[in-house]
Symmetry: C2
DNA sequence: GGGGCGAGTCGAAGCGCTTCGACTCGCCCC
DNA sequence: GGGGCGAGTCGAAGCGCTTCGACTCGCCCC
């Protein structure tokens, strides 16, 4: 391993000068800077991360806490993770991958050891057990998701309440009076996952405002559960003409089942999904959807973290406004 | 931040004694050890990661290089990543998340800076540009995937050649003489991704041996491309009765399309998939499949890395034998 | 009863950086 | 012409650990 001292010797300057060339914290003459840069290049020098962290008390690492479970929104999680990693690198940070199963202990460990300067948390529950620790911690944190009480926290999320409202509005505007919601797996609601609860809140609120009947049914992933859920819906509300789907793995099964039952989309039944654009476009009917801006969520979270590490200590909630794209799966209610 | 020196003072011992309690590298009396452990507990001490890395030249971090692209096997990638993170923690390591877009530069940076002690690489191409660097590097590395030339490298992968062979064998054994392969996206083959090419090799080889006709068609993700690919297949080979699907996003569309065409599965057409068990079980027909053991791949990669970090410097290739599970989507060829 | 040995503990050095204070030197200004 | 100032550079200290050598002490053995 090449050290800074070796670079200094090679360039004929002191170690501190090399350090200042690297950090730019003091002015260096062009002549010296170029000489040092040439030595760095020639020797293939990379600053030792541990030494740098120890001396500066900055690791230049951001921890990302991902859910361990893979029962929901896998592509969204993955896209967020990749966006976080990519944006972090663009700001000079690396990303440490933590899984949610370590829980609060991971927060303590990472904060205490200086492994990371800050953390980003995904899969936030309404009353998440990691929150008290984050509020106390000296290290900045950003949540991707929204707990019940956001006081003292910085959050980035899609505005899922508005998302739910938007879906009902769109369907109601087309004349649908009986709307069914195919939701996430029951387990997702049982642990009070923020986005699922908030979407429901938005759906119900607007349905009430507009005098539309709303039936919500959680749905385990896959064809079988979707089929059972659909049967139950038509059993309880035979007049259902509008569907809101917030469950990626139910999308294609639902479309296939409706086709089999001879219900045309959108002539007989309208379907709107809350999902990434990619899913909406790859389905067998091009879906009207509210997109989940995973890349933007990851990127914005990193931007907030970087700002906080640079001294901005405001806590705030960034809600991304939902965008509804009308495609081929929604139309006027029949009759 | 609490330091080791503060723990030492609190416990009334020297700093080195605390260090030896932590590492267990020298014997410590039970009395002293318990006193130190109590102080650590009471003060909430966490060793500083940077200082530890600097002094020991070990970061206890494993770098995981993931593909940036999300055009294939997202759930598999995600499951591997989670398995790597979980197993790494079980062995006392943390995981640094790198994306593939930094390429060889990332390998140099991580190795040179001591950010990580070792690395795991995913999404390996047959002639991957990162390989020469890995062969030279002093730091251990494990590939999840298989390049053309494995000399000087340690790899873990499903035996995709055997996987391909197994699929053809199963269908041929049921009397199918015309088999079509719905493959990954064209881009996956264009960049010579190891697993895709190897599966094809296995499929073709065994088809030749058994005198079965094989038609391979790459397929972009989604319903539209699957539909077009299927039409092309039946156009070129109207007698096709067996399908091998190695493309997760084509599975449900394919089943739906066959149903629409009035082709019963498995009475008229047999379908076998190469995919995680979860996908096979959630499809509209319970699929006969060769499973992709993502969790095992991630775990084994970590085990090999940990062994190498402990001094085992053997290079070897771990090929996981494929397992075929017969479910409801394959049966005797018609007629 | 003295020598040797292992268990247990300590002190100091060193890992490779950053950063602070101090120094030199040339220029500009009154 | 002397004082002040900013640009440019250096040396030393210090960040919080690990690890090596050395020391003490009690026990066991011949």
């Amino acid at each position: 391993m090449v050290t800074l001292a070796e670079v200094a010797e090679h360039a004929g300057v002191s170690a501190s000068t090399v350090s200042y060339v690297l950090s730019g914290k003091r002015s260096i003459s062009t002549r010296t800077r170029e000489r040092v840069e040439r030595s760095i290049e020639q020797l293939g020098y990379h600053p030792n991360a541990g030494a740098r962290a120890l001396a500066s008390s900055r690791s230049n690492v951001i921890a990302l806490m991902m859910p361990l479970r893979t029962d929901m929104y896998v592509p969204v999680m993955m896209e967020i993770a990749i966006a976080v990693a990519t944006s972090a690198r663009a700001h000079g940070y690396d990303v440490l991958l933590l899984t949610g199963d370590e829980g609060p202990a991971a927060v303590r460990r990472v904060a205490g050891s200086g492994l990371a300067d800050a953390m980003i948390l995904m899969d936030v529950e309404l009353d998440d057990e990691r929150l008290p620790l984050l509020r106390d911690s000296a290290r900045p944190a950003v949540l991707i998701g929204l707990p019940s009480d956001t006081a003292g926290l910085t959050c980035v999320d899609l505005d899922f309440v508005a998302t739910g409202a938007l879906c009902v509005e769109h369907l109601a505007g087309l004349g649908h009076r009986d709307i069914a919601v195919i939701g996430e797996a029951p387990a997702v609601y049982e642990r009070h996952t923020g986005f699922a609860e908030r979407t429901l809140e938005g759906l119900r609120g607007r349905a009430r405002d507009l005098g539309v009947r709303l039936l919500h049914r959680p749905c385990d992933p896959g064809y079988g559960p979707t089929s059972a859920t659909l049967a139950r819906v038509f059993d309880e509300r035979p007049g259902t003409t509008g569907f809101v789907v917030q469950n990626e793995s139910a999308v294609e099964p639902l479309l296939g089942l409706l086709r089999q039952q001879g219900r045309a989309v959108p002539e007989d039944v309208s379907v709107i999904a809350v999902c990434p654009d990619q899913v909406a476009l790859q389905a067998s009917v091009r879906l009207t959807s509210v997109s989940i801006p995973a890349e933007e969520m990851g990127r914005r979270a990193v931007e907030r973290i970087v700002a906080k590490l640079a001294g901005d200590d405001a806590d705030d909630v960034t809600l991304i406004a939902p965008e509804l794209t009308v495609r081929a799966s929604t139309g006027n209610a029949p009759g």
